[in-house]
Each structure stands twice: as C-alpha cells, then as structure tokens.
C-alpha cells in the first residue's frame, strides 16, 4: 500500500497529476450537466401555456 502511495519516489508529481485531472474533467462534467438541466427546466417553464 505504501509502495503505491510512494509512486517510486514520484508521489509529489503523480498524485497531483491525477488530482488535477479529476478536478478539471469532473468540474467540466458537473458544470455541463448543471447548465443543461437549468436550461431545460427554464424552457419547460416558458413553454407552459
């Protein structure tokens, strides 16, 4: 386990690379979905007779 964490001495670079990838791509996914749902809800409201 600690071997995996140590990343052969490169932990300070490998883990941040994973972290920033998850953060940026995850953020893009969440923002995209939130904006889509908001736009859909708004249009449904406007299209109500």
């Amino acid at each position: 386990m600690s071997d995996v964490l140590a990343m052969g001495g490169y932990a300070a670079f490998v883990w941040p690379a994973y972290a920033v990838s998850v953060l940026l791509l995850g953020g893009a996914i969440v923002l995209t979905v939130v904006r889509y749902r908001r736009a859909r809800a708004r249009l449904t409201l406007l299209e109500k007779p």
Partner: protein
Amino acid sequence: MFAFANPKRFMDASSALLPWLVAATALTLGAGVVLGFLAPPDYQQGDTVKIMFLHVPAAWTAMMAYGLLAATSLVSLVWRHPLSDVAAKAAAPLGAVFTLLGLITGSLWGRPMWGAYWVWDARLTSFLLLLFLYLGYIALWNAIEDEARAARAAAILALLGAVNLPVIEFSVDWWNTLHQGESIFRAGGPRISGVFLWPLALSGVGYTLLFFTLWTVRIRTEILERRARSLLLGVVS
C-alpha cells in the same frame, strides 16, 4: 453532415445518440485510467510514466477540439448554418479545459524528468498560445452583445488561430525542442512498448469520447437557451 445542421434534427439525433456516447466514454475512459494506473514503471521515467496517460490524451483532445472549433467556424462564415455558431461556441470552453490540463500535467512531468516545470521551448510555447486562443475566443464572444456579430468575429479569430495547430504539431521537428518528438503516429509504427501503448490508446479514445459527449450536451444546452430567449422576445410563439 448538413442534414444535422438543423437544430430540431440535431436535438432528435443527439438525444438518441447520447446514452451510447456516455456508455462508450465510461467504458474506454475507465479502462484507460485503470490500465494506466496499473502499468509498470518505465525504466527511465519510473512511475512518472503514469502522467503520460493523463497528459498525452488531454493535449491530443485539446488540439482536436481546436480543429473542430476552426472547422465549425469556417462553416459558420461560409454557409451560415444556424448550428455551426452554436457548435463552435460550445467547443471553446471544453477545449480550454483540456488545454489547461495538458499544460499542468505536462509541467508535473517536466519537473522530475527535465528538472523544470516550464521551459520556453517551441512545443510548450505554442501550446500555451493555444490556451490564449481559446480564452481570447471566449472573451470575444462575451465582449460583443449582438449575437451574429459576436459569432462572426469569434469565427475569424478561430480561423486565424488555426495556423497555430500545425505549429504545435510540427514544433518538435522544426525546432530543437526539449519536448520529445512523435512516438505514436509515426512512419514505421509506434515506438513505445505495448504495456504503455494500450492504456494510452484507450485513454486517448476515452478523452476524445468525453469531449464529444460534453460537446453534444453543451450544443443542446445552447439550443435550449436560444429557444428560451426567442420565446421571451416573442419572436417564436
């Protein structure tokens, strides 16, 4: 292709396609990330080779996204298809995210392997310019209030910036860069071992599909927003 350049038809086609896109993205991206994580340390790079599976697909997707941004901008300028502006506008923020990701992960690899987070080498510099092009494109859209004029100005910027794409691609051949040359798409086949090639290929496909999935959703969002706006203006009843 132009058959889908109609918002209504795009909405129908994309809603049928989206579940498949999401599934294919999850599958390839998941497999790529897991295989990349489990890949053995490289004999020179050690465990930093894992960063390659995050960096290369991000950088590749960032460039592909700009290619699509330029292509849809060209269609928008020449044929004035209603969907092309929307498609171009929706691609830019995603491209910026992938570009930023490519820069950061590359920098995290550069520090232990080159001894520097950043060098002003032709590849890195032209890639930084790609980020500024994306940001400039987004800023231009936001700066001009009239939608048609904003779309036109942004499309022209996108096309001018497309010159940077071959510069990025061939920078490693044209100049003496610290960044290594092409080792995948080269005459004579890939020059990396299979244990690294497979995770890289899967991640590459996964990142590409993730871009297309998010792009599709963002185009749909923009179409819905425009429809809402025209309803509010009373243009469409």
